[in-house]
C-alpha cells in the first residue's frame, strides 16, 4: 500500500506504476457485483414478488409519509428551540440547550421505546386527559419520537445557518427602517436557508434511515414489511430488496439536493 499509495493530491506527477491497490479494490467490487447478480438470478423468485410486492410498496409509503410528516412537525418545533438557543435569556437558552442535548445525546430507539411502551404504562392518565387516542397508535408514537428528535437536530442546523448570515444584513435592514420580524423572515431567513439546504437534506436522509426503528413497535414501514417477509420465507433476498429500495430513496434525494443547490446558488457563481 505505502509504495504506490495514494498521494495527497500533490502537484507532483504521479508515478506511472501499475496501480495494484485500485485494481484489487475495484476487482473486489466487481466480484461482489457478479456474485450478487448470480445470487439474484438464482434466488430471484417471481412468486415472492407477487406475494410481497404490494407490502413493500405500502411499507415504502409508510416510511416516506412518516418521515415527511415528522420532518415538517420537527421544523415547526425547531424554530422556537433555535431562537431559544440564540437568546440571551438564561432560562430560554438553558431549556433549549437541555432539549437539544437530551434528544441528541440518547438513542432514538430508546426514545421510541420510552414513548411507546413507557407512556403506555400511564394509559389511565392519558385517557383522563383525553390523549390516549394519540398514544394508543404506534404510528403516532413513532411520529412523536421522530419529530422531537429531528426538531433537536434541525434547531442546531437552523441556528448555525442564521448565525452564518453576516450582521451587516441585519444592520442594513434596520437602516432601511424595516421591523425586526420583516428583516428576519424576508432578509435573513432566505439566506440562511440556502446555507441550511444541504444539512437539511442530510437530516432527511438520516431520518429515512433512522425511521426503520419504528418497525420494532409494530409499525409496518419498509423495514417492518421486510422483516415480515423474511420471517415467512427465511429468504435473504427480502433484505436485499429493502436495501436496494432504501439506497434508491436516499440516492434520489441526494441527487435532487445537488440539483436544487445548483439552481439556488446560481447568483453566487461567477
Amino acid at each position: 500500500m505505502s509504495g504506490n499509495g495514494p498521494s495527497l493530491a500533490a502537484p507532483a506527477p504521479p508515478p506511472q506504476k501499475p496501480k495494484i491497490a485500485g485494481m484489487i479494490a475495484i476487482g473486489v467490487w466487481i466480484a461482489f457485483a457478479i456474485a450478487f447478480v448470480i445470487y439474484f438470478a438464482k434466488a430471484f423468485d417471481t412468486t415472492l414478488i407477487a406475494r410481497f410486492g404490494w407490502s413493500y410498496l405500502s411499507g415504502l409509503w409508510v416510511t416516506v409519509s412518516l418521515v415527511a410528516v415528522s420532518f415538517v412537525l420537527g421544523a415547526l418545533v425547531s424554530l422556537p428551540v433555535a431562537l431559544g438557543r440564540m437568546s440571551a435569556n438564561p432560562i430560554a437558552g438553558g431549556s433549549a440547550f437541555a432539549f437539544v442535548y437530551f434528544f441528541r445525546g440518547t438513542p432514538l430507539i430508546a426514545q421510541i421505546f420510552l414513548v411507546y411502551y413507557g407512556f403506555g404504562q400511564f394509559h389511565d392518565f392519558f385517557e383522563a386527559i383525553g390523549m390516549w387516542w394519540f398514544f394508543r397508535e404506534a404510528w403516532y408514537c413513532g411520529l412523536l419520537s421522530l419529530a422531537l428528535n429531528t426538531a433537536a437536530y434541525q434547531a442546531e442546523i437552523l441556528r448555525g445557518a442564521i448565525e452564518s448570515v453576516p450582521k451587516g444584513q441585519w444592520e442594513g435592514g434596520r437602516s432601511l427602517g424595516l421591523p425586526g420580524s420583516v428583516i428576519f423572515f424576508k432578509v435573513v431567513l432566505p439566506q440562511a436557508m440556502i446555507v441550511a439546504l444541504r444539512p437539511y437534506a442530510n437530516e432527511i436522509i438520516l431520518m429515512i434511515k433512522a425511521s426503520a426503528i419504528v418497525a420494532i413497535i409494530t409499525v409496518y414501514d419498509l423495514f417492518g414489511e421486510t422483516r415480515q417477509a423474511y420471517s415467512r420465507t427465511y429468504d435473504f433476498q427480502t433484505y436485499v430488496w429493502a436495501a436496494l429500495l432504501y439506497l434508491a430513496l436516499v440516492e434520489a434525494l441526494r441527487h435532487a439536493t445537488n440539483w436544487a443547490e445548483r439552481r439556488l446558488t446560481v447568483h453566487l457563481k461567477r
Partner: protein
C-alpha cells in the same frame, strides 16, 4: 418509589447488576468499534483523494452504500447475510465453521458505517491542510511516510476532531440498535427488565439516563482532547 429502588437495586431481586453489565457491553462495543472505524475511514479518505481512479471509485461505492443504508438494515445484513455467506464458504472450502456473534456483527456493521462517515470527515480535514506543509516536509528530506506521520497526521487529528467527536456520539447511540440482534447491552437489559417487572417507563427511562451519562462523559473527554491538541495555539 421504594419499589423502584428495589427494582433498580443490585442482587437477585433488582436489575441494577444487569443494567451495569449492559453499560459495560455498550461501552466495550463502542470502544472496540472505534479503532476499526477510524482506521478504515482513514484509508478510505486516502483512497478518495488518490489519483488512481479505480481506487477512488471503489471508495466512493463503499461510502455510498454504507451511508445510504439504515444502520439497522446494515446490522441485519451482516448478522444474517455475512453469517450465511461464511457458512457456505466454510462448507465449500472445508474450513471450520465461523459464526459471527451479535457482538462481532455489531462491531463489523457499526465499524463500516462509522468508517463511511469518518472518511468524509478526514477528507475535508485533509483539504484544510495547506500543500505547503507537505512540501515543507519533503524539502526537509522526510520520506512520504514520515511526512504523513509527523507533519500531516497531527494537524489532521486536530482539524478532524470535532467531526469525529460527533461520529463517536452517533456510534455510542447506534450500539443500542445491536440489542435488536440480541446483544445484552443497556437497552436490551432494560427491555428484559421492563418485560419481567412490567415497569417499562422506569427501565427505558433509566436506560436513557445511562446513555445521557455516557454522552456527557464523552463530551468531557472529547473537550479534553480538543484542548490538548490545541495547547500549542494557546501559547502563541
Amino acid at each position: 418509589m421504594n419499589e423502584s429502588l428495589t427494582l433498580l437495586g443490585f442482587g437477585s431481586t433488582g436489575w441494577g447488576d444487569e443494567l451495569a453489565t449492559g453499560v459495560v457491553v455498550t461501552v466495550t462495543l463502542s470502544l472496540a468499534t472505534l479503532p476499526i472505524g477510524l482506521c478504515l475511514g482513514f484509508f478510505l479518505s486516502l483512497a478518495k483523494q488518490s489519483d488512481d481512479r479505480l481506487l477512488k471509485l471503489s471508495a466512493d461505492i463503499f461510502t455510498t452504500i454504507f451511508r445510504g443504508l439504515p444502520e439497522l438494515l446494515t446490522l441485519f445484513l451482516v448478522y444474517f447475510g455475512v453469517n450465511a455467506g461464511l457458512k457456505s464458504l466454510s462448507q465449500a472450502t472445508g474450513l471450520p465453521d465461523i459464526a459471527l456473534s451479535s457482538f462481532v456483527s455489531g462491531m463489523v456493521a457499526l465499524g463500516v458505517v462509522f468508517s463511511a462517515f469518518a472518511s468524509e470527515v478526514f477528507l475535508s480535514a485533509f483539504r484544510a491542510i495547506p500543500h505547503g506543509q507537505r512540501e515543507g516536509g519533503m524539502a526537509l528530506g522526510l520520506g512520504r511516510t514520515k511526512v504523513m506521520l509527523l507533519v500531516i497526521l497531527p494537524q489532521l487529528i486536530k482539524i478532524a476532531l470535532p467531526g469525529l467527536g460527533n461520529l463517536w456520539m452517533n456510534l455510542l447511540k447506534d450500539t443500542a440498535l445491536v440489542s435488536v440482534i440480541g446483544l445484552a447491552d443497556i437497552l436490551r437489559q432494560a427491555q428484559i427488565a421492563a418485560r419481567v417487572s412490567r415497569e417499562p417507563f422506569l427501565f427505558f427511562g433509566t436506560a436513557i439516563v445511562l446513555y445521557l451519562v455516557l454522552t456527557i462523559l464523552s463530551s468531557f473527554v472529547i473537550g479534553g482532547i480538543d484542548r490538548w491538541t490545541k495547547r500549542g495555539e494557546v501559547a502563541r
